[in-house]
Symmetry: C2
Subunit: 205 residues, 2 copies
Amino acid sequence: MTAYPDSLSRLVESLKRLPGIGTKTAERLAFHLIKLSDEDAMDLARAIRDVKQNLTKCSVCFNFTERDPCPICADAQRDKSIVCVVEQPKDLMAFEKAGAFKGVYHCLLGHIALLEGIGPEDLTIDALLKRARQGGIREIILATNPDLEGEGTAVYLRDALAEVAKQKGIRLTRIARGVPAGAEIENVSSAILSDALSGRQTFGG
Amino acid sequence: MTAYPDSLSRLVESLKRLPGIGTKTAERLAFHLIKLSDEDAMDLARAIRDVKQNLTKCSVCFNFTERDPCPICADAQRDKSIVCVVEQPKDLMAFEKAGAFKGVYHCLLGHIALLEGIGPEDLTIDALLKRARQGGIREIILATNPDLEGEGTAVYLRDALAEVAKQKGIRLTRIARGVPAGAEIENVSSAILSDALSGRQTFGG
C-alpha cells in the first residue's frame, strides 16, 4: 500500500482525534478540505485556532463565552431569580434558539454516568450549590436530558439542592416530558405516551 | 435568540462551507473541536493549512502529491505500460490499499455529468489522450465507478481513445462488474445479479 502524502496523512490523523470520527469519515472530510478554496481552508484553520484561544467558560454559568461573565449573565434584562440547569452549553443554545426562557442558566458540563467514571464531582454542581446559597434565586429548573443519565442527574441534583432550597425558599422544577409538538400519536414510542399520560394536566372545565 | 460567541459562530460558518455539512453537523463538529486539547486543535489547524500549502497535483497522473511527479509515477518498480483510469484520487487510494495493481494511474478528477454542467473538457481527458499518443502503453483499464455517470464516462473514454488505441496497439479494458466478494446472493440487488450473470466466465472443464 502506497501511503497518503505526508500532509494528507497528518490531516486524517488530526481529524480522527475528534470524537465519533473514524478513519473513513476522516478521509472523506480530508478530501472535502482539500477541495475547499485556499481562502476557505485558511479561514477554517484560523477559526479553529481562534475558538481555542478566545473561548473560555463563564465563571457564573459555565457557558462558552469570549467575555466573563457571559452576555446572558451580564444582561440586566434577564431574570436572575430563575436558573435553568442544563447539561451542556449546546443545550443552553437550544433553549436560546427557542426564545422561550428569559432567566439565566447553569451548565453542568456533563451528566452523572458512574459506569463511564463521571461522578458528581466532575460536574459544576458545587458551583450551583454556591449560587443557590448566595440567595436571590426563587426557582431552579432541572433541564437535563430526558434519558437515563439526565434523569439520574436530575434526581441527584434534587437531593443535593433539597436543603438549600428549603432554607432559601427555592422552588425546584423539572422540565415536562410528553408528546413532542408536531408528532403523530401513532408514531411515538410507548415510553413517550406513558410520560404524556402520567403528566396529564387539567384542561378547561 | 442570543447568538453564539463570535469565534464559535465563525467556526460554525467555516465548517458549513464543507460540502454536505449543514448547520446541525457544523455545530456538532464545532462543539467537538472546542473539547479537543489545545495541542490537538492546533495540530488540526496546522494540518489544514499544510495540506493546502503542500499538496499539489501530479502533472502525469493528477493524483494528490507533495512532489511532482508523484511517488507512484516516479517509482521504477511500477509498470508504466498499464494505466488504470479512475475518477478521483480517493479511488486510486482504494486500489493502492487493495494492493492488487502494480501499474500506474490516471485521475480524471470527476466524471461526465452533463446535467450538472460537467463535460469532458472539465476532466483530464486531453492529458490522458496525450499520454496514450506518447507511446509505451499497452493497456488502459477504465476503472470509473459502476454507476450511471461512471459508465457514461467509460463509454465516452472508449470512443475518445479508440483511434489512438488502434494506432498504438493499446488494449482498452473495463473493470469487472458482478457480485461483491463476501456478499450473500440472497441479499444483493437484481442489478448486481444481472451483471454477475452477463459477465460469467468459463470455469474449469
